[in-house]
Symmetry: C2
Subunit: 168 residues, 2 copies
DNA sequence: CTTGACCCTGTAGGCGGCTACAGACTTTAT
DNA sequence: ATAAAGTCTGTAGCCGCCTACAGGGTCAAG
């Protein structure tokens, strides 16, 4: 039961055995927004689904597993780009597990580094607050508190507070 | 010694007593890029400087203090937007120190929250790695390692790994 | 038959803090 | 005199992960 849509994609007849889902249902069942689903497709995280004759995406239920996988990977700290690579490897038949393990190991040491930074930063902040509580209100050009605090200049703002350094 | 530039800003004669800096010198001396300086000006972090007749920005040396202030504030975790508000308050004559103190207190508790999250996440990652080392290579649709790992679904990806939630 | 909910493509925006042009002008050094 | 380096304005782009339209077409219920 394969015809062609107007755009040339596979068409799936409604009468096929498996349960077919339109994008809104997938969204509801997976908790991933409709726009995000289309975005994932464009980004290569989801295969292009079949279409109805009128062009609607129709998904099989296995897409829900895929989406669960993506969420799970995100929860483990993978970027969508990494997920994409993993999915592609898997499609090529290679087990991506070694790469996955490697990524997680790297992620773990990055995380440790960031934790150290953040702890240092925390100490600085607390120290600073304590000093401020002693002096009360400090005079200065703009804010004596800031001008007078002894954060080392080189410190800058800890990376982990802004965003996470990719491709480091 | 005030004339008008073609664009109508204040003009400072070269013969004035104080040392006048062009933007490139300010950049070199402060370590802040030229484009960033113009960006700061647009964002209200720096006052519009005087101009030469031909339109070049000319700064007094006090801009270096201001820039040091900005860097210092950034090192303490302030966003440029917060710095802008602080600077404005100071210009209006209010001591911004109370607000500053408040921001730092808030920042500190956010930071603690994030540290908790990240520690939790770290435990998960390590746990996961350990399990993976036991099973070796796991079979699965895409990567059994990820599919099988028992990160709670609700966990999602810790915010602190992506970026820091402003205006929380 | 109409209403309204759904779906389509394509493009723009948003967060934070810049950076990188393009295309023109000015100043400085040789 | 000329070339190189500096500066100007204005706009676009980057990173990751979407979200939010606009301006259509499609489908199910009443």
């Amino acid at each position: 039961m394969m015809r062609e849509t107007r755009r040339g994609a596979k068409v799936v007849g409604e009468e096929e055995g498996r349960r077919m889902l339109k994008i809104g249902e997938v969204s509801k069942r997976s908790g991933v927004g409709v726009e995000a689903l289309r975005f994932y497709e464009k980004s290569g995280l989801l295969d292009s689904p079949a279409r109805t004759y009128s062009g609607y995406r129709v998904y099989g239920e296995e897409v829900l597993e895929r989406l669960a996988f993506i969420k799970q990977a995100q929860a483990l700290g993978f970027s969508l780009d990494e997920v994409r690579r993993i999915v592609e490897d898997a499609r090529k038949g290679q087990s991506p597990c070694d790469e996955v393990r490697e990524i997680v190991r790297r992620r773990l040491s990055e995380l440790d580094e960031r934790l150290r930074e953040l702890h240092r930063h925390r100490e600085e902040l607390q120290q600073t607050l304590a000093e401020w509580d002693e002096v009360g209100r400090a005079p200065g050009h703009i804010c004596g508190l800031i001008e007078g605090s002894d954060v080392e200049h080189a410190a800058r703002r800890p990376e982990g507070l802004k965003r996470r350094g990719r491709k480091g």
